[in-house]
Symmetry: C2
Subunit: 186 residues, 2 copies
């Protein structure tokens, strides 16, 4: 038996995207978004209501960063979603976090979050709330890089469970005994 | 110190979306996609190359389903990504899975995967590979519904680690002792 929930924005996993921007005066802000994902080889797609300070900022600068929220900073990352940048102009500092300006785009990299996409705005549509960004560079702190690759366990990203308004850690790798598909090929 | 990876489609977590479609003759197919996410209240956005059988199918029917891949069917869900529906016309049956036709859209619900979005095609663009779908209904098997909500532990969704080409389970809920943001408000 299946239960119907109607037309809803439910998906598992949903990411916890921390979007970093500067305003026109170079003041950094961060917000938390769950509705988004990779849109192409080098593009990311995120749904952002036009009233966000972040949207005013990225319209002014043409740039943003996307950091992945991590388990050890869940309170800080949740705060970036609860508090509005239109009301509090120093959310990042209040959360005890720090930024370094990207050398590639006009947007702040949050020092404490070890995985970050540096992006240029391709388009933003007020009507559909759709932000499309060009991923100019992916950077990662050396603390989460092993043999030249991201180590997911060290990164410890969190996901958003909108059904229960909770954050969930990633767990273990799933063993796939048939990764060549041979089980099903004959 | 940060390591630069260049312009890449890396994000954590990435979902494992199993897209179900019928061809013009009502033959069901399934594929595996990681590049996508919620696009709006009731919309999903997925990047799909136009050569996929799935794309020909959803152009013909105007509909598709999105099931979430689960840990206990990782081999089957991986197979849906390895094998092409253009070569093998009975991938779902070969994987030992079964379908029930949605009563809302012309697309198959995969019985063994307990969480499913039923979607109508809003648009598909061959050039950008962008599929935009209207989520008409979310349905879930009763085995994963507790007190009227999805139980993420029972669903056991998997995520895709493109950096290591691995599938990863979700883990535990993260305790957020400051979920009202009070830690940072003064």
């Amino acid at each position: 038996m299946r239960t119907n929930f109607g037309a809803k924005a439910l998906l598992y996993p949903m990411p916890v995207l921390i979007i970093g921007t500067y305003d026109a005066d170079g003041n950094p802000d961060a917000m938390n978004a769950a509705w988004g994902g990779i849109a192409d080889d080098t593009q990311i797609n995120i749904c952002l209501s036009p009233t966000h300070k972040t949207v005013a900022n990225l319209k002014a600068t043409g740039a943003f960063t996307v950091s992945v929220a991590t388990a050890n900073y869940v309170a800080e990352c949740d705060y970036f979603g609860i508090e509005s940048g239109n009301k509090v102009s120093d959310k990042i500092a209040r959360a005890g976090m720090h930024v370094t300006k990207s050398t590639l785009v006009n947007a702040p990299i949050i020092d404490e979050l070890p995985f970050c996409l540096e992006c240029k705005v391709i388009s933003y549509d007020d009507k559909t709330c759709r932000l499309l960004g060009e991923i100019v560079n992916v950077n990662a702190d050396e603390s989460i890089v092993v043999n030249g690759k991201i180590d997911v366990q060290k990164l410890a990203p969190i996901t958003f469970d909108s059904s229960n308004h909770a954050y969930i850690k990633l767990g273990d790798k799933v063993d796939n005994a048939f990764k060549d598909g041979s089980k099903f090929k004959n």
